[in-house]
Amino acid sequence: MALASQPTGTPATDRCPSAEKGWGGWLSSRTKSTCCASPGCFWPGSSPFFSCSSSSSPRDSVRTGALDDNRASTAKFGGQATCVECHTDEAKARAAGKHAHVACEACHGALGKHAADPETLKPVRPDPRTLCVVCHAANVAKPTGFPQIDPKDHPDGVCTECHVAHDPGSAPEEKKK
């Protein structure tokens, strides 16, 4: 199977070339009749039975500003790079441990608003008993090798009493003593 969508010079070049080149192509894209229905056009995806106008020249029918509308909304997740700008200590602890590839907002939730206004919008500390098992509760469909526990085996335990959330391989300071 070929990867049908490998990037090309422009995304349009993997479409029927008769609609793309020269004034004749421009004309056919306007009249929407001769592109893929033309005899002898064996371009992949061509069909003599359906108009391919929408795929041969999609921009013709797209409203100006439609892309901007799709760009307009505000991001609610601030992004990992934003978090570590301020929270350097937590980022350091996390980068050293097994949660190195878990982004902050994967556990702490969407905090774009907090990033925009850190003083007034304070995030709530997640509850370990409900948060940790979201990933680590045992399930046979999970990949073998992923660390899992049966919550019933730890009826009273609070995970963070034995594991540091940001660096779960190490024990909390008071346990080390």
Binding site: R59, T64, A66, D68, A75, G79, V140, A141, K142, P143
Partner: protein
């Protein structure tokens, strides 16, 4: 593309004849009205895709919750831009797996099967495959659904009239009608994020890195190494949709 050349010629000649400096930049935005004219993001430099490593998915549902939060998707169990399916495949009947997706995986997956039952189970995250030859685009009667120049299938909510033709056309079941607006909605690959240098909400929230946003036109993107070193598969290749969500470790029973 000829139409782009014509537009560029008109813009350039207008600027030359009438405008200078800042107003010349502004007219580009006004005339084009699209991100390729906006600073720092050029649609022709990107070709977006996603890589999904099935063997890393733990079915936690973080992606589903993050997506609904980020994109204000209705919380009902019938509206998803992304969702996670659990497959349970018995070795004696590989062709007919049991598939469930309680609330799309939004609340995680309560244990349903037991180890050693003679079957294999795994999770498969699903989303819009951002097809390069998209069936949903082809059927839209009003041009409300389109493939963007940077390879994302988007919806123009001002043009969409809610006819549902695209909902039926999508072979992957990735579209739904938003009950609040009566227009169609789907995964936009977080277009508002990726055009500003952020990754998608689902990738941001995925704790295991099972999902990775990829820019196929960026030579430094790890996707090229991933595609070189893994046996990847797309969903329903026989449909010739040009899907750009590449799955590693995908079982043949997945539909």
């Amino acid at each position: 593309v000829t139409t782009t050349d014509r537009r560029r010629f008109l813009v350039e000649s207008t600027k030359f004849l009438l405008l200078t400096g800042a107003s010349a930049t502004a007219i580009e935005h006004v005339l084009a009205g699209e991100p390729e004219a906006a600073p720092n993001y050029h649609t022709q430099d990107h070709w977006w895709a996603m890589a999904i490593d099935v063997e890393k998915c733990i079915g936690c549902g973080n992606c589903v919750r993050a997506c609904k939060e980020e994109n204000d998707v209705p919380r009902e169990a019938y509206h998803f831009r992304t969702w996670v399916e659990r497959y349970h495949v018995r070795t004696e009947d590989l062709e007919h797996p049991d598939v469930d997706s309680p609330n799309g995986g939004y609340d995680g997956f309560p244990e349903k099967y037991r180890a050693g039952d003679g079957a294999k189970s795994f999770f498969v995250p699903k989303l819009c495959n951002q097809c390069a030859h998209s069936p949903c685009v082809q059927v839209c009667p009003v041009g409300a659904t389109f493939e963007s120049p940077d390879g994302v299938v988007l919806v123009d909510k001002k043009y969409c009239m809610g006819c549902r033709y695209c909902v039926q056309a999508c072979p992957y079941g990735c579209r739904y009608i938003d009950p609040r607006t009566g227009t169609v909605d789907k995964c936009s690959l977080c277009y508002h994020r990726i055009t500003k240098g952020l990754t998608t909400a689902c990738c941001e929230a995925c704790p295991t890195g099972a999902r990775q946003l990829a820019d196929l036109k960026d030579p430094k993107d790890p996707i090229h190494e991933f595609l070189r070193t893994h046996k990847v598969q797309i969903l329903k290749p026989q449909m010739a949709t040009g899907a750009k969500v590449y799955y590693n470790g995908l079982d043949g029973s997945v539909r």
